[in-house]
């Protein structure tokens, strides 16, 4: 993907569409889908090459899915050290919205913007399937279009999505409301059968303390068109665009 011109600065004021940066690492493969998803909910999607040291004045940033640098060392480990991540970290620390999807979530864990680490799925296999997710937080901007307890249908597609932390850390995170999305049944219930990858506490998505950094394993950008299986991903992307 060729980087587009970056002449337009500033945020979504005066009728101009809010600009959302989508970072492209070598090996990103959901970048085009994510760019299209942002546009589908009314944002202006701006591809940002990983060697760049700024975010072209975008108000929000997405780290898309894929296999950055082949994920040969450990998912997200190499991308965490790329040049653009300094700008992403600054953006996050300024309280501006950052969304990590799948590999993007793994990268957020690697840079410490979100807690914990990813293990291989408990089957040690790649898993692609439609899952149900319960929205645990809707008081953060990105999830504000959903109701608390609402059940979403989104696809997962990953081999390392088995979120892990020391049990007391996980308990502490629960008490702090860090769990944004959890794998569940179609009725919003939990049992081990509905946890596709073995993630601790069935965690599918986490949010930081200030509510501006969200990471999730499922792919909202693949659910913005009813023809492709549903529109449950629109709310999240719209929440991000509105917060940009």
């Amino acid at each position: 993907m060729t980087e587009q011109g970056t002449g337009v600065r500033g945020q979504g004021t005066g009728g101009r569409r809010a600009r959302v940066a989508v970072v492209i690492f070598p090996g990103s493969n959901c970048d085009r889908d994510t760019l299209a998803g942002v546009e589908a909910v009314g944002g202006e999607a701006v591809p940002i090459w990983h060697e760049r040291s700024d975010l072209a004045g975008c108000g929000a940033v997405i780290l898309p899915g894929g296999f950055s640098y082949g994920d040969y060392l450990r998912a997200g480990a190499m991308a965490a050290h790329s040049k653009v991540m300094t700008a992403v970290r600054r953006h996050a620390e300024a309280g501006r919205p950052v969304l990590g999807i799948c590999n993007g979530f793994q990268i957020l864990l690697e840079v410490g913007l979100l807690p914990g680490a990813m293990l291989m799925n408990r089957t040690l296999r790649f898993i692609c399937r439609e899952v149900h997710l319960r929205v645990e937080r809707n008081d953060v901007a990105m999830l504000s279009h959903y109701a608390r307890g609402q059940v979403l249908g989104l696809p997962i597609a990953h081999k390392e999505g088995n979120w892990f932390a020391e049990p007391d850390v996980a308990d502490w995170l629960e008490s702090q409301g860090a769990v944004a999305l959890r794998y569940c049944s179609a009725d919003g219930e939990f049992d081990d059968d509905v946890n596709p990858n073995g993630a601790l506490h069935a965690i599918a998505g986490l949010v930081n303390r200030d509510g501006n950094v969200l990471g999730l394993m499922p792919h909202p950008e693949r659910r913005v068109d009813a023809l492709l299986g549903g529109v449950d991903g629109r709310g999240l992307l719209r929440g991000l665009v509105e917060a940009a």
């Binding site: 993907m1 060729t2 070598p26 090996g27 493969n29 959901c30 085009r32 889908d33 299209a36 998803g37 899915g65 894929g66 296999f67 640098y69 082949g70 994920d71 040969y72 408990r122 089957t123 040690l124 296999r125 790649f126 898993i127 692609c128 399937r129 696809p155 597609a157 081999k159 792919h219 950008e221 693949r222 913005v224 068109d225 009813a226 023809l227 492709l228 299986g229």
Partner: protein
């Protein structure tokens, strides 16, 4: 041995060349070739590269049509799909490597087929895999299945092209020789296609991608030889794939092409640099002068022989105008890829190379490519399929038969396989794996591209002509179930040794059957692949001519569905009874493989497919073609483990033919009661029978008051998941 040592007849034999072929080389050159030159001849004259046993028969396929933009002979075929777009597609086998080393064999098969498609300037939008394995309890078989699935998944998932379809089957004839056929479909603008042509004297040859190592040397000659118990020793001839580099290559090459920097482009597949350079030169009618010292090497001390025959993966050859080389190299660097100039296009019909200041080889093009040997091998026409007298079926428990069919590996749900593939990356998958056909949108449009792979090898083993024709017909039906009109075929013809008259007879009959069907349906063959020597210790596989068919939906307005819903009315389109020849019922329930395989009634198939296509496009009906396992299995699949049905056959029919008979272009359709009248009207003039309604928790099929079977749908779904459940475990 030195790379420039004189090549003796004995060396030629070791390279898989016959004595006649060796003499022909001496006559052509008027001298003795050196070892490197011999290696080049052996690779280009191998069955795999030269199609020497198949070429005369492949001409029987219709390859032209209004939509055809590029037929066979290029890296992939291209067909117009409207809106200024073309679909670019091809299927290729990676059978031998996958049997020796399943993970890398399958992975590099996916990598190779992707390169064939993006080389044409097309962005790959979907992958499909047609897989054949032996009995699950045969030695190594579970390991092979697992390794192949992981290899396909890890490669396709990383490059970010969704794997959306394909098929898997099991038969003892594949115990010693599994089949891995990978198909890729890409899309390009009609005016944005690129070709593998080294044209324009003075243009530069640029090498792009991974460095060249010693892996995969002799891959093409291995694929042109039969197997025996020494297969494991060939492991070093299997290449190792790097999907990350492939992903970079896709993006880099598409960007180079979009920027107008490329004159010609080709990937290095079988026989590596040798085939790409010679084929590109031959297509353009130019020569090439190369400097092998400049080829990026992965190991120290590599020789010209190794450079020319390595099958290291993820490598491309570009032809670039001299003034644009710097731009090309700089763009490649941005993608983190190795690229360098290794030679130039020259006048005349010779390809030559220097190495350490000496001539490494100097060879005339024509004898190597266009004038490569062609054989009309002797053949024995196949005997008619053996007929069998069925045992007494009067006291059978049809419910038990359905359960045993669903629990067999042949009819098992492939969900545990598909789940390991990213099916929806690209955010364009309308219908993914597990359906009759896959349906994916052209990025940014509502144009749907559908694809399916089909081959009933059981039928082809019994009657190659009828079986191959039926494979085409089944593909047409499968496309109809997602509303798609067929526009082109790629094929992958997997057979035993062409030196065996019986096998050659099967091969020719299958081609003729497929060609007849292609003509009758007016679907051109635009690309394909032949894989011979699929035999182990003299035992050949079932003839497996796999059809990869691509279809188009001009504007996708609704999602085709493969399940019926509570309250829908269920119809059978087509005759009430099927035929038992080569059926799954005979194979699984009775343990018999016998004919006859009925011929295709093209007119009836055309009418039914056109009708179903229309109903699905309008979002009126859920449609499923009745194929493997017959109506009972199709109905079980439509239940989807959730919604049963009460179906009744109206007249006195043979239960076994009604429930488990196959062939004859039959479909199950399900429509909302409010649409039933519209359906009946649309089907006027075609055999249509109302069977009952969907609903409840069990699938019941009866004839009058006699209940043939009554099974809980949850139980049926559980049985379908059983045989391949091991693929979801750690």
């Amino acid at each position: 041995m030195n790379w420039d040592a004189p090549a003796t007849a004995e060396l030629a034999r070791e390279h898989g060349l016959t004595d006649d072929e060796y003499r022909r080389i001496l006559d052509t050159l008027g001298r003795t070739p050196n070892l490197t030159e011999l290696g080049i001849f052996a690779a280009l004259w191998s069955e795999h590269c030269s199609y020497k046993s198949s070429r005369v028969h492949l001409r029987k396929f219709p390859t032209t049509g209004e939509r055809v933009v590029q037929g066979p002979g290029e890296n992939a075929g291209a067909v117009d799909i409207g809106g200024g777009w073309v679909a670019v597609f091809k299927m290729e086998s990676h059978n031998h490597p996958s049997f020796i080393e399943p993970y890398q064999g399958a992975a590099t098969g996916v990598g190779g087929i992707l390169r064939d498609v993006f080389t044409m300037g097309a962005r790959p939008i979907m992958l499909l895999d047609s897989l054949r394995f032996g009995e699950l309890d045969a030695p190594r078989m579970r390991h092979l299945v697992d390794g192949v699935v992981r290899g396909i998944g890890d490669y396709g998932n990383c490059v970010g092209v969704p794997t959306v379809g394909g098929e898997v089957d099991f038969h003892p004839s594949y115990n010693g020789n599994v089949l891995v056929n990978a198909m890729c479909v890409g899309v390009a603008r009609r005016d944005g296609l690129f070709y593998g042509r080294a044209s324009g004297v003075g243009n530069r040859v640029v090498y792009l991608g991974s460095k060249t190592g010693r892996d995969g040397i002799h891959g093409a000659t291995m694929a042109s030889d039969s197997f025996d118990e020494r297969a494991a020793e060939m492991r070093p001839t299997v290449q190792v794939g790097d999907p990350f580099t492939e992903k970079l290559l896709i993006e880099c090459c598409l960007e180079l092409m979009a920027a107008g920097l490329v004159v010609g482009i080709q990937d290095m597949g079988a026989a590596g640099l040798t085939s790409s350079l010679f084929e590109m030169a031959a297509r353009a009618g130019c020569g090439l002068a190369l400097e092998l010292d400049k080829v990026p090497a992965r190991a120290a001390g590599m020789t010209p022989y190794e450079f020319m025959l390595s099958e290291s993966q993820e490598r491309m050859v570009l032809v670039v105008e001299p003034g644009r080389v710097a731009e090309v190299l700089s763009l490649c660097r941005r993608w983190g890829l190795d690229a360098c100039e290794i030679g130039e296009v020259v006048d005349g019909g010779e390809v030559s190379a220097t190495f350490h200041g000496r001539t490494a080889f100097r060879l005339p093009l024509a004898p190597l490519v266009d004038e490569a040997p062609r054989y009309e091998r002797p053949l024995a026409r196949p005997e008619p399929a053996p007929l069998v007298t069925l045992p007494d079926l009067s006291a059978r428990d049809w419910g038990a038969d359905l359960r045993s069919l669903l629990a067999s590996e042949q009819l098992a749900s492939a969900a545990r396989i598909f789940e390991q593939y990213d099916q929806s990356v690209g955010a364009a998958t309308v219908v993914g794996p597990g359906a009759d056909a896959a349906l994916v949108l052209v990025p940014g449009t509502r144009i749907g591209v559908a694809a399916t792979t089909d081959c009933n090898a059981l039928a082809c083993g019994l009657d190659p002509y009828a079986g191959a024709a039926q494979a085409v017909a089944e593909a047409v039906r499968n496309l109809a179930c997602v509303g798609a009109e067929p526009v082109g075929i790629t094929d992958c013809l997997n057979f035993g040794s062409p030196e065996d008259e019986q096998v050659m007879g099967q091969f020719v009959a299958a081609i003729e059957g497929m060609a007849e069907a292609c003509r009758a349906f007016a679907i051109p063959v635009v690309s394909g692949n032949v894989s011979f020597y699929n035999d182990t210790n003299g035992r050949a596989i079932l003839p497996t001519p796999t059809v990869g068919m691509v279809g188009v939906v001009d504007e996708v307005r609704s999602r085709p569905r493969g399940r019926w819903q509570d309250g829908e009315v269920v119809y059978l389109l087509g005759p009430l009874e099927g035929e038992l020849g080569a059926s799954r019922f005979m194979q699984v329930a009775l343990g018999l493989e016998a004919g006859p395989v009925p011929p295709v009634d093209f007119a009836a198939e055309q009418r039914a497919a056109a009708l179903v296509r229309d109903l699905v496009r309008k979002g009126l009906a859920a449609a499923k073609d009745i194929a493997d396992g017959g109506l009972a299995v199709a109905a079980a699949e439509l239940c989807g483990g959730r919604v049963g049905a009460d179906l009744e056959f109206p007249a006195e029919v043979s239960p076994v033919r009604a429930l488990f008979g196959e062939w004859h272009g039959r479909f199950l359709l399900a429509v909302a009661p409010s649409d039933a009248a519209a359906l009946v009207e649309a089907c006027a003039g075609l055999p249509l029978t109302r069977l009952g309604t969907a609903g409840g928790g069990s699938l019941g099929i009866r004839c009058g008051t006699r209940v043939w079977l009554d099974e809980r749908v949850g139980r049926l779904e559980e049985l379908r998941g059983r045989a391949l459940a091991f693929l979801g475990e750690t």
